[in-house]
Symmetry: C2
Subunit: 310 residues, 2 copies
């Protein structure tokens, strides 16, 4: 009998995912009935992205696992009706896209490109930028994305420090953890990249105090989650020169409202949540492969640890 897989996400995602998912299940030889309206008690699996339609997971008594289409699971992990195993999205294209976006914006600030992009008035002022080896970078968050970004930046020559709540070890990166480690990791760093999950422990992790630990004139790059930054503290630090520029891809409210001070701020670059996107073709394949393995008795990949929230 076909596995009943419920696609629980908004309409736009259904139109993007229906055909890649169908193809991926077929490629893997799985007999799947993929639909948006299976009855809860006969649903075998749920493919999920945050939306208004599904708030109560308790009727899905026979659901063996839930596959998030998003890497960040903060909106589902706190749902008290959720008892089923939850797998987050880990996707090589998502990682590649994030590494490219982060590398690009780190290099942009490192090289001081904006000066040339914004001013082509004819001033020949050959100021050679410092080398990466003299520009300490800190990456907050050492999940799949943080590790990939940190290692790429280290290979480009930057001295890279990484920080995570729990102790980790990453080749080529000086790793810190815990509250004390955070202070050491931030101290004197000239570029800070935020790739932490959104949890109660990471809310406003960049605030007046922690921003003050960075080198004067540091750059902030946030492709992680909006709540990682205390927005008012950042605006103050931009105003007084402690922070030279912030490039922000994620916000507490998205789309970022037109009247938000970040838009008009000359030292802030807003990008519209484009740093990394789950691409339907490869994401569909990751879900199908994980589901197929689980059906064969293999452990669920990328299982979310509820106790820590990611």
């Amino acid at each position: 009998m076909a596995l009943r897989v419920l696609f629980a996400a908004r309409d736009a995602l259904w139109s993007e995912y229906e055909s890649p998912l169908t193809a991926a299940f077929a490629d893997l030889g799985l007999d799947v009935d993929l639909a948006r309206d299976h009855a809860p008690d006969v649903t075998d699996y749920i493919i999920y992205a945050p939306h208004d339609g599904l708030e109560d997971f308790s009727p899905y008594v026979n659901c063996k696992a839930i596959f998030s289409l998003w890497a960040g699971v903060e909106r589902i992990v706190t749902n008290r009706t959720l008892t089923q195993p939850l797998a987050k999205m880990v996707n090589p294209d998502l990682t590649a896209g994030m590494v490219e976006w982060v590398t690009g914006h780190v290099m942009r600030h490192h090289l001081g490109m904006d000066r040339h992009i914004l001013d082509q008035s004819g001033t020949w002022d050959p100021v050679v930028p410092p080398l990466a080896q003299d520009r300490p970078v800190v990456v907050l968050g050492l999940g799949t994305l943080g590790i990939a970004c940190a290692q790429t930046l280290a290979r480009l020559g930057f001295p890279v420090r990484g920080w995570s709540r729990r102790t980790k070890s990453v080749d080529g990166v000086v790793c810190y953890s815990g509250d004390k480690g955070l202070r050491i990791a931030l101290e004197g760093a000239e570029i800070a990249v935020l790739l932490l999950p959104d949890t109660p422990g990471t809310t406003n992790i960049l605030n007046t105090e922690t921003l003050g630990l960075l080198a004067r004139g540091a750059f902030i790059i946030n492709p992680g989650r909006g709540p990682l930054i205390d927005d008012r503290a950042l605006l103050r630090a931009l105003g007084d020169g402690q922070i030279a520029h912030a490039t922000l891809d994620v916000f507490r409210v998205e789309p970022l409202p037109k009247d938000h001070p970040y838009w008009a701020h000359p030292k802030v670059t807003v990008t519209p949540h484009i740093a990394a996107e789950t691409r339907p073709e490869t994401a569909a394949f990751e879900v199908a492969r994980n589901l197929a393995g689980f059906e064969k008795g293999e452990p669920l990949q990328n299982l979310v640890d509820r106790s820590v929230g990611y």
Copy 2:
């Protein structure tokens, strides 16, 4: 007695190098009398960069070696009065700086950053850029700098083709050579990076015909030499959309004249010859270390082979 070291280069370089050289000699415990006016017959060593002041090396009968501050020695190696051993500048910082500048501007165009840097009017239009793996890049020139840039871009995920006049082999890069190879290397490439030397054979190597081989809407990045590009052909290609944008660091005349059409062109970014520079601190140390080793009887490093000219 102090070693008499003659600094033979123009005034601007003296003001950049005097103090780093003095510091480097002191660090290495060398007793050096560094000056710009030692008498030829008592000069022990010459530190040299092309300028109008020193054309005849024959009076320097006691000079043990000459250290070039430049990597390219084409202007001194052909001097028939030169009989002293000549060491060229080999400087890891020059390569690192070039790789960083090229990587940064490739990523900038790849990610379409300018849109966000120039327009912060509040439009939330999440268009996710393609991945590097889908963006073919061609690097023209496979000397030390070209190879380093090509390999770095390949490691970032770009499919990279390299081209050089003579056949070369570079790990991770598909290499082409010769006139036919040039056409294949350019065909359909979306980003072209120019790192060729300026020779009669490379003048206007990017012209109407070769620009037309690139993918429509390609990006040109030139940190190599100004004459590599037929400027009028590039302006036409920018006008008709064949080329989307050109980022140019080098020009036939530098500083680029204020009224040159490149400055005001919305699809051209001029940078003032900053892509890579021999940095006085590290270059001074390289010279001092080489000189100190030679004084101790070690062979001269980076010795120029006159028979091949480099």
